[in-house]
């Protein structure tokens, strides 16, 4: 296996036994003697073949029952495949669930050691990361309490802290983001963002396209146990929504496709960063392949919030452009939330010539400031009046 490959999966097949009257007791076994037992095997994975490079943040997406979780469990070594191979370059820690092995009768302290040892960290290693885990979970004074006396939020915090502090060559997460409140998810996002920046190899299984768009460097779409598509995040998310619109009816799909292909000679070079703090700067390279007329054409860039609110718009009206290539810097003086960028080409009269919606999407996360809130970050000054 080449050095830069982290995971290599070759021709993986997996099916589950769904026998009509599978005996689950010796009594049943004896009753069923002589009866013809129809065997049903459900094929869950059907020839999966892919490679994940070191340092990739790899997303596996698919609808419910597509086989993505089964694939993950095979990668984690929980399931044995019927045939095919999984080669790992380095050690792997799976987080199929947070707080694996937690025992509610034990203290928080004991649970950290138990859970970490089950994830493959010997006692000495846990000794070294124990303080960090407790710090991150902010549970200092509770570590001697039994886990059953923790609130569910505290349990999740402890479990997540173990997951975060547990370093390994390859990390696997299954829908971990599905638990916890908004604040917790923000914390997750920040950590994942850091993983991506530092080149940690991560495999993330999810059916949230937003998560994939925000975090992944490459992704794979699975449907009916087969790889439908593997490649850039944009291409995978596009196909995933196609897959779902299948159900909405062919007509609608055709309409959407027509809209998509009709326009857009825009080429966007999106920034690597997809998670921002308020006041950070977003940099976007926009170019347009259409026939550009400097006297007539104007480029516009808009920011739209996930609920559809038109947050901000700008254009090149007070510039003299010779060609349709710009670098756009926007200081994000906006509140926490999920946003997308729409770019458009207009003529001087304001008529739309070309438009690309969702050219880039990003998140603004909590920067911990307690003195401000709301959907924008206006500058403000308070002065105490003299009495």
């Amino acid at each position: 296996m080449k050095d830069d490959i982290a995971i290599k999966v070759h021709d993986l097949h997996k099916s589950f036994d769904l026998a009509e009257n599978k005996s689950t007791s010796i009594k049943q076994l004896l009753i069923n003697v002589g009866k013809e037992n129809k065997k049903y095997r459900q094929k869950v994975l059907d020839g999966i073949d892919f490679e994940i490079k070191k340092g990739e943040f790899f997303g596996i997406v698919g609808r419910n029952g597509s086989g993505k979780s089964t694939l993950l469990k095979i990668l984690a070594g929980v399931y044995t495949p019927d045939s095919g191979t999984v080669e790992l370059n380095g050690n792997l820690t799976p987080f199929i669930e947070l707080g694996v092995g937690f025992n509610s009768e034990l203290s928080g302290h004991d649970n950290v050691y138990l859970s970490a040892s089950l994830l493959g960290y010997p006692r000495k290693v846990v000794d070294g990361m124990y303080d960090e885990i407790v710090n991150f979970a902010e549970l200092h004074e509770h570590m001697d309490k039994k886990l059953k006396n923790y609130s569910s939020g505290m349990q999740v915090r402890l479990a997540f802290s173990i997951a975060i502090k547990a370093k390994n060559d390859i990390l696997i997460f299954d829908e971990v983001l599905a638990v916890g409140d908004e604040a917790f998810q923000q914390k997750c996002m920040r950590i994942f963002e850091e993983y991506r920046r530092t080149g940690q190899t991560v495999v993330l299984v999810t059916h949230s396209m937003d998560t994939v768009r925000d975090l992944c460097t490459r992704a794979m779409l699975i449907d009916n146990g087969k790889i439908t598509h593997i490649g850039s995040v944009e291409s995978v998310t596009e196909r995933y929504s196609d897959l779902n619109t299948d159900k909405e009816g062919a007509q609608e799909k055709a309409l959407k496709l027509a809209q998509k292909t009709k326009y857009s000679q825009f080429v966007i070079k999106p920034p690597v960063k997809t998670v921002y703090l308020p006041n950070e700067e977003l940099t976007l390279h926009v170019s347009w392949k259409g026939k550009f007329d400097p006297d007539k054409h104007i480029i516009g860039v808009a920011i739209i919030r996930s609920d559809g609110e038109y947050v901000f718009g700008s254009n090149s009206k007070n510039m003299v452009l010779t060609h349709a290539e710009i670098t756009c810097n926007i200081e994000l003086d906006i509140g926490i939330g999920r946003y997308s960028v729409t770019v458009a080409m207009l003529d001087k009269s304001g008529a739309m010539i070309d438009k690309k919606e969702d050219a880039f999407s990003f998140r603004v996360i909590d920067d911990g400031r307690v003195d401000v809130g709301g959907s924008s970050r206006l500058k403000y000054v308070y002065e105490e009046d003299k009495i």
Partner: protein
């Protein structure tokens, strides 16, 4: 495959210590329970078989003789029962992480060993007050217990893998254990059994183990399989070996599918 890598040893230790803490911290009498249970059984059986049926007559140090038999049998029962359900009981782990499956069985076996250790301390106290003379043969006792441990753990491996598929196995094993208790010379000394029947009782490895333990610890007058014939002694030893081999193969084969079968 490194069976006892640092990782695996660490998992084993944490599982055993978690088991131990959970089992004992919530009961008023704490650790005493694991001692009291066999002691109560011993007290009842001692009264019944010394004063009512008088089977213990003529056996030197009969109380210690009886207690050692009971402790041995208690260990066998506990480690096979707890071991049998160990894989299913840890199903939550097995479905989510890839820890070596044998560790779940081994951790329950370790817990049983701890109990046996505590009980042996009680046995020593009894032996002291009953006037059992220490001999050099006592050093052989651990050897007998190694055989006991290996035999019951091997059975536990087989049973735990089978239990994943057949959940009524506990009832069946309960019946077999009941029968085994009477087929093994625990309450009655072998002198009460007709000479021509004795060899048949020794097919059972537990009979060989219990009698050997008594021979080395309590009194040399104990009838062991080796006194009858060395060749006959190879039968229980052979059975233990067969159980080890068969259990290992079966467990290894089944362990791959535990996660989806549980």
């Amino acid at each position: 495959m490194r069976y006892f890598s640092v990782k695996n040893r660490s998992i084993l230790r944490e599982m055993v210590s978690a088991d131990f803490k959970v089992r004992y911290q919530n009961s008023v009498l704490g650790y005493l329970w694991s001692v009291l249970r066999p002691l109560f059984l011993f007290a009842i059986l001692y009264v019944v078989f010394t004063y009512v049926f008088k089977v213990g007559k003529g056996v030197p140090h009969y109380p210690v003789y009886l207690l050692l038999g009971i402790l041995t049998w208690t260990f066998f029962t506990e480690s096979t029962f707890v071991g049998m359900s160990s894989v299913v009981a840890k199903g939550d782990l097995i479905r989510k992480i890839s820890i070596p499956r044998y560790l779940t069985v081994l951790s329950s076996a370790m817990s049983a060993i701890i109990n046996l250790g505590i009980n042996l301390v009680v046995l020593l106290v009894f032996a002291y007050f009953n006037g059992v003379e220490p001999t050099w043969r006592w050093v052989l006792l651990p050897l007998v217990f190694v055989e006991l441990f290996v035999f019951s753990t091997a059975l536990a491996f087989f049973l735990s893998a089978l239990y994943v598929k057949f959940r009524d196995l506990t009832y069946i094993w309960e019946v077999l254990i009941q029968g085994g208790f009477y087929a093994t010379p625990i309450l009655y000394p072998l002198t009460r059994i007709p000479v021509n029947l004795r060899p048949y009782l020794f097919i059972n490895p537990m009979a060989q183990i219990v009698q050997d333990a008594r021979y080395v610890f309590v009194t040399q007058s104990t009838i062991t399989v080796w006194k009858i014939s060395t060749l006959l002694g190879l039968i229980p030893i052979g059975i233990v070996l067969l159980v080890i081999i068969f259990s290992t193969i079966y467990f290894k084969k089944q362990a791959k599918w535990f996660a989806e079968n549980i």
